[in-house]
């Protein structure tokens, strides 16, 4: 069977490019929302900075300097530049800048701008930064970083799946219709009729549960891995359209080289 990203260096390179692409997408979206971050906007720094009132003078000076408007736009432009440069420049400085600016932007939005997608971006960038800094000296570091991202991806699907499986509304199919109808984009034009019927709603719910709860099987065999990530890709595209979760699509795709690299290879050190 054709095995892509079979070695840690190839997986790391693919993940670096994929996460850089995701960071470009995220940054362009935030730049388009600059008026929301202006002092007259909803997410005005003069209001947000109250949460930093208890900090030291140095901390306040740093956060004021970096996070107030329009300085935050400078942070975004630097982030965009680092993400674009990673395709042609040495990766370590670019990854460090992407990591630091992702953290700053999350703090600016009171913890996260887009929940789980910001967290997974941080996980991938942290792992890649460590791999770029120390991977050349010790190949085990690169391997450990790839496993770290792979396990984070598996955890994200499986924990979401097991949490849903405990809910009777998910098992009956009712929860899916409720979530779709309360999406920020409104109910689907045909969704009400399809998800309002018991059998289709239950079938779609169980497909989601099977995908998420069965996701740890990607680690068993590359064939399973290809199957699951194909389904997961379709799942993320549907989520992007139904719930507006476009960022999850690109960030989670950036974890797939790690999954393909680790699939069927056995844990490092395991017999």
């Amino acid at each position: 069977m054709l095995t892509l990203f079979s070695t840690p260096p190839t997986a790391i390179e693919a993940m670096t490019w994929a996460i850089a692409f995701a960071v470009v997408q995220q940054t362009l979206e935030l730049l388009a929302l600059r008026s929301a971050m202006a002092d007259q906007g909803v997410w005005a720094w003069p209001i947000l900075r109250r949460e930093f009132a208890g900090g030291s003078r140095l901390q306040q000076a740093v956060t004021d300097g970096l996070l107030r408007y329009p300085n935050i736009l400078g942070v975004l432009v630097i982030r965009l530049g680092a993400a674009l440069l990673v395709f042609v420049a040495p990766p370590l400085p670019c990854l460090l800048i992407m990591l630091a600016t992702t953290l700053l932007i999350s703090i600016r939005w009171r913890g996260t701008f887009n929940g789980g997608s910001d967290s997974m971006t941080m996980i991938i960038l942290s792992a890649l930064t460590i791999a770029a800094a120390f991977g050349d000296c010790n190949p085990m570091v690169g391997l450990a970083c790839v496993w770290y991202v792979a396990l984070a991806a598996v955890n994200s699907y499986a924990l979401a799946g097991f949490a849903k499986l405990r809910e009777s509304t998910w098992r009956s199919g009712a929860a899916l219709g409720v979530f779709v109808n309360t999406s920020v984009h409104g109910p689907l034009a045909r969704g009400r009729s399809v998800l309002g019927r018991r059998v289709p709603a239950r079938v779609i719910s169980w497909v989601v549960l099977a995908l998420e709860c069965g996701f740890p099987l990607v680690l068993v065999d590359p064939a399973w891995c290809y199957g699951f990530i194909t389904l997961a890709l379709a799942f993320h595209i549907a989520n992007a359209y139904v719930f507006g979760l476009d960022r999850f699509l690109f960030v989670w795709v950036a974890t797939y080289p790690a999954l393909l690299c680790c699939s069927g290879s056995g844990l490092p050190g395991a017999g």
Binding site: L33, A163, K164
Partner: protein, 176 residues
């Protein structure tokens, strides 16, 4: 990966899922919560906070309540680029943060009666940001906004919006 390792891993995942999620109220941890993902996406159709606003020149007659909910239209390009959808998601998270702030203010006031929970809430960041959100809606909806006053309210709709509604917060009347 050996079968036994996979089984141990699965058992660990299931055990983690059975643990009740811990909410850490520490503000520093909240600001760094990007580092502590929970991965429990869309697990329970819980209470949905809904924001509405009314406005007018006479504070005694502010007109009818109107929902503050931008619902960006679905388009094919939003699979790759969806700033308005992501902003709407951030606003939905803000309303959940306001619900937490209301509950914290109520608990603090019940524990220490000398504390003014309403004042504490009105000074909180989620409240001030939500006030901005309501004001922005008024400014967009009313072309002649000078001298206009507005009031917002937060309603909790149970079971993912399909169940009972109850009013959680009614703001003071504010100037635009």
């Amino acid at each position: 990966m050996t079968t036994s390792l996979l089984l141990v891993y699965l058992a660990l995942l299931i055990a983690v899922t059975r643990m009740a999620p811990r909410i850490v109220a520490n503000p520093a941890v909240q600001r760094l919560r990007v580092l502590f993902p929970s991965w429990r996406f869309f697990d329970v159709p819980g209470d949905v906070p809904q924001l509405s606003v009314r406005w007018g020149r006479d504070p005694a007659q502010l007109g009818t309540w109107r929902p503050v909910a931008s619902r960006p239209r679905r388009r094919p390009q939003m699979l790759a680029y969806n700033p308005s959808g992501n902003l709407a998601l951030a606003h939905a998270s803000l309303l959940h943060a306001l619900v937490d702030a209301v509950e914290t203010a109520c608990v603090d006031e019940s524990r220490s009666p000398h504390l003014d929970g309403a004042e504490q809430l009105a000074q909180s960041v989620p409240y001030r940001l939500t006030s901005r959100l309501a004001r922005e809606h008024v400014l967009r909806s009313a072309p002649e906004a000078s001298g206009v006053r507005f009031q917002f309210r937060l309603v909790l709709a149970a079971d993912g919006g399909t169940g009972e509604h109850h009013e959680l917060l009614l703001s003071e009347v504010e100037a635009c």
